[in-house]
């Protein structure tokens, strides 16, 4: 079978598949690609991780210092100034409860904002690879999300240690963390696919994100809880998909209860939808993107 088979600008796929098989293939394809390119993903991920603290002596210490600094600053400034809902008072001290509450929101928000800032410029960063080698450009969104995941996991570990120190114990629901972290990673990969495709066409996508990401910090329940908002605002806050992730994370990490199943279902829906919509969008324009960059 030819490895390249093109007629009139269209890739010819030789298999004759019915609609059901085609749908299954579509859902399976991103994972098949990731598995196929696993060595490439690993090689570039290593480079990306090394690049983050390039020329730094302290290196990984910075990844730990950042969340610690956040704890200190937010505890200092917000202690006693905001009302904390009763269920989030997980430690005896009010200040440490605030710190945990805010940090758990910040972890989610920083993860998202790192991707939102970077994704529009992602293909420009790798333009040499895309234009001069046979490069699976769809894997870049996966690689950059994996790198961000690494830093998020470090922050989560810092949070865990801090919680053990100030609260004395961890709720068992901490074990459920992968059940929300994995959908969130999928959500971000999908978002990165969409944003990097748009960003290849116009740099405005990057400038837009620089302007709206800080605003989202207030449209996401980082410093407050959605239960504190008056209706109908508390409902509409879920239109910002991050709200659901923040709430579920806090439920399982701080409060120690199972999340509201409706909220969890909503986060699963946004995750799966964004993942496949992003992949579909990127795939649709990938051949055009090579010529635009």
């Amino acid at each position: 079978m030819p490895s390249v088979n093109v007629v009139n600008g269209k890739q010819i796929v030789v298999e004759n598949l019915g609609p059901v098989e085609r749908t299954i293939r579509f859902f399976y394809r991103p994972f098949g690609q990731m598995w196929h390119h696993r060595d490439l993903i690993q090689a570039i991920l290593r480079r990306e991780v090394a690049e983050r603290f390039k020329g730094s002596i302290a290196g990984w210490v910075w990844a730990v210092v950042a969340p610690l600094l956040a704890i200190a600053v937010y505890t200092f400034f917000f202690a006693g100034r905001l009302d904390l809902p009763r269920e989030y008072m997980v430690t005896s001290g009010q200040n440490t409860s605030y710190a945990l509450f805010i940090l758990s929101g910040i972890v989610v928000f920083n993860f998202w904002s790192e991707m939102a800032f970077r994704a529009p410029m992602l293909l420009h960063e790798y333009v040499h690879f895309i234009k001069q080698t046979i490069f699976p450009s769809d894997m870049l969104a996966v690689i950059s999300t994996l790198r961000a995941t690494l830093y998020t996991v470090i922050s989560v570990v810092v949070l865990m240690v801090f919680q053990v120190i100030v609260a004395g114990h961890l709720p068992w629901t901490w074990l459920l963390l992968p059940l929300i972290l994995i959908p969130f990673v999928a959500f971000l990969v999908g978002m990165a696919w969409f944003l990097c495709a748009i960003g290849a066409f116009t740099r405005d996508a990057g400038y837009l994100m620089i302007n709206i990401v800080p605003l989202f910090m207030f449209a996401t329940p980082v410093f407050y809880s959605q239960t504190q908002l008056p209706p109908p605002l508390d409902f509409w806050l879920y239109a910002n998909a991050l709200t659901g992730y923040v709430e579920v994370m806090r439920d399982i990490m701080l409060v120690g209860t199972l999340p509201n199943w409706q909220v969890y279902a909503w986060t699963l829906f946004t995750s799966i939808f964004t993942f496949y919509f992003g992949y579909w969008f990127f795939d649709r324009y990938r051949n055009v993107i090579v010529d635009v960059l």
């Binding site: 079978m1 030819p2 490895s3 390249v4 088979n5 093109v6 007629v7 009139n8 600008g9 269209k10 890739q11 060595d39 490439l40 690993q42 090689a43 570039i44 290593r46 480079r47 090394a50 690049e51 390039k54 040499h128 690879f129 234009k131 001069q132 080698t133 046979i134 490069f135 066409f201 116009t202 405005d204 324009y285 051949n287 055009v288 090579v290 010529d291 635009v292």
Partner: protein, 260 residues
């Protein structure tokens, strides 16, 4: 493949053409993507017009032509980096493009790390690259520079490393695009010897402005002009006609204009 004649043809192009889309304003791309079905926002800039080509397994093809005639675009299309806009193309076999691997090097990382990345980009497994690493380092012959950041390399050293990686990919079709021009004579000879050896089993597509190289390496020369094949056949013959044409035809300043 059941039919032996079919499997011997590794590259087949019929009426192949590539037109880039030239936009007056940058953001017209976006309009084209969104409303392209209703109206077109670009001027087509034809790089390849009508390429008909059949390449057999084991052939070595030298592509000649002036800057901007479409040689590199043709090779990019054959490699599958960019899609042709019309015509048919069939390629079978593992392709390794030695187009500009050196330009993908990360300047801050060492040669060693770049070998790992470059190998992965060319489709090698991590274990394979590690196994071949000593051989790659030996072929490149840059000694202790291997562990220095690539930003301290000279252009020639980058080319050495890049070619050395490509030489270890075990490709069936090797695409070399003026990659050897910056190496010194000794390294060029090493590369040419390697290519000579490669030709026994693989297919070579070769772009060069050095006619001596083309004459030495190629079994067939293809002269591309203005996006079409002007002449092909015996290298000496084609090179002679090409040289004659270069003397007679002036360097036309309107060659790169879209309005044709």
């Amino acid at each position: 493949m059941s039919s032996s004649t079919y499997s011997d043809i590794v590259v087949e192009a019929k009426h192949l053409g590539k037109a880039y889309q030239l936009y007056a304003r940058r953001n017209d791309w976006l309009k084209q993507v969104m409303f392209g079905w209703a109206k077109s926002y670009f001027k087509p800039f034809t790089v390849l017009r009508d390429i008909n080509l059949q390449i057999q397994r084991g052939e070595s093809i030298g592509f000649l032509g002036r800057n901007g005639c479409g040689k590199s675009t043709l090779l990019q299309v054959i490699c599958g980096m960019t899609l042709p806009s019309h015509g048919e193309l069939r390629v079978s076999g593992r392709i390794a493009p030695v187009l500009a691997l050196g330009s993908t090097f990360d300047l801050e990382l060492s040669g060693r790390e770049n070998v790992m990345i470059g190998g992965a980009v060319l489709g090698l497994k991590r274990a394979e690259v590690q196994r071949k690493f000593n051989s790659i380092a030996e072929f490149a012959g840059i000694g202790d520079y291997m562990d220095q950041p690539v930003k301290h390399y000279s252009m020639g050293m980058r080319t050495r490393l890049a070619f050395s990686i490509c030489a270890h990919v075990e490709a069936e079709i090797l695409v070399v695009d003026e990659a050897l021009a910056v190496g010194d004579a000794a390294f060029q000879r090493k590369c040419l010897d390697w290519i000579d050896n490669f030709r026994k089993t693989g297919t070579l597509l070769f772009v060069s402005h050095s006619m001596a190289e083309v004459r030495r390496l190629c079994t067939r020369a293809i002269w591309i002009e203005d996006g079409c094949i002007r002449e092909q056949g015996d290298p000496s013959e084609v090179i002679r006609n090409y040289h004659r044409a270069l003397l007679v035809e002036k360097d036309d300043v309107h060659r790169f204009s879209a309005a044709r």
